[in-house]
Amino acid sequence: MVERLLMKGNEAIGEAAIHAGCRYYFGYPITPQSELTAYMARRLLKIEGAAFIQSESEIAAINMVYGAAAAGGRVMTSSSGPGISLKQEGISYLACAELPCVIVNMMRGGPGLGSIQPAQGDYFQATKGGGHGDYHLIVLAPSSVQELVDLTIKAFDLADKYRNPAMILGDGLLGQMMEPVQFKEFQKERIPSKEDWALGSCQGRKPRRIVPFNLDPDELEKIVNKIGRKYEDLPKEVQYEVVNMDDPDIVVVAYGTVARVVKTVIQKGKKEGINIGLIRPITLYPFPYAVINDAANRVKQILVAEMSLGQMVEDVKLAANGKSKVFFYGRTGGVVISPVEIWEEVKKILNQN
């Protein structure tokens, strides 16, 4: 059996990245994800050929990511809230240049400098663009330390497969907590060859360039359309978890930390004779529209719970397509939703309807 280690979420991401062959990390510390930057510094400096740079700013970091990705390396950067906002220009460039990389956002309270406590207010920024222009990130939302490991590895694989930046969208609570984790053996052969597009020595071949622009509208349209076709393919990567969905009285849709709070509420419901189902999107982009649409056929009420004013709820409404009523409960600013709050909300909805 693979050994179980007790690790902090932020450090587990770092180890998972290295496990997945990431040898380049550029970043700037910010609470609540600084342990990740520190971990990469400790580990990468001991690996021959690897590079760690604490950059002078988040903007510098994301552009270093562009360089390392263009050279064909597995590369990562991480931040939270304000730092992720600073990276947006570079992220848009990476998407246009079709460069794979992994960006970690351990969300904190916003907007502005906000707070440093856990939040989920960056859902729109992560899934709807964030930077300028026609692009999407592949967005994965872990809800345990083990999943931080598994999804970090998966993010590298998906980024390479689609030549598109991928984001781990966690929150401060996941980053700070410790849970047992296991690292399964990683087959290096999983990393695809990038020889047909990456830069490097052009000895023996024609020089290449990787640029995030084309000033001829017809040519840029071709590039953007090509990127768009990748997004049409992405739904096959949809991943989600369903709990207690056989015959639920109400379905709750929640991701990340909040989904775990819902699992506690499901147990409470069982004791009190209320069947609460949970749909937990694991990929936020591509979003699991189909499973939610199917649930909307079967239940009258869907409750969306988020640590925000209500962002994912818009995608759930799109998925439900008017077939069931969609309610929302949220806390924001860095306040974590408690099981009691969701329980009260579930009872309120069931009593009124």
């Binding site: 179980r4 007790l6 609470t31 609540p32 707070s115 440093i116 406590q117 401060g172 609570l173 700070q176 907590m177 410790m178 849970e179 047992p180 930390t257 775990r260 709070v261 699992k263 506690t264 499901i266 147990q267 974590v336 408690s338 099981p339 009691v340």
Partner: protein
Amino acid sequence: MLDEIIIAGFGGQGILLMGRLIAHAGMLEGKNVAWMPSYGPEMRGGTANCTVIISSEEVASPVVSNPITLIAMNQASLDKFEPLVEKEGIIILNKSLISRDVNRDDLEVIKVPANDIANELGNLRVANMVVLGSYIAKRRTVKMETIVMVLEETLGEKSEKMIALNKEALKRGEKIVTE
């Protein structure tokens, strides 16, 4: 569910370490565990607290509204968390720093003169180990041998004297409950 614990006190009392030892020992015994610290400005010079969950099932919410066990290392922590403890729960408090009685009568209270015992042992810093000893003797969620094993691993580079001192502190805390 075996236990949901909130451990609270001053920064510097070894609050987070106490929680980590329990979580680590629980993991080594094959249980599901989660450890969640408070972080941010409240950690700077003020109070520190952490939540530990040990369970035979999957750990759902890592956030605990109503702990089964409260370990209160100072008065402020007792004031803050006493009302939240589950009915029939347990409060283990550091009698050396808490002068008042527990107001509730629907739970069990164990008073441990942790600072006094630690001082007797010659090192105030092991007050947390005294209380940890009492916790394990009372709740038996993890075995004392496993805690000692994790402690030895954690203190690894430090002197054998420190390990012996910590073990003695654990034993003294255990005695408060067993005698």
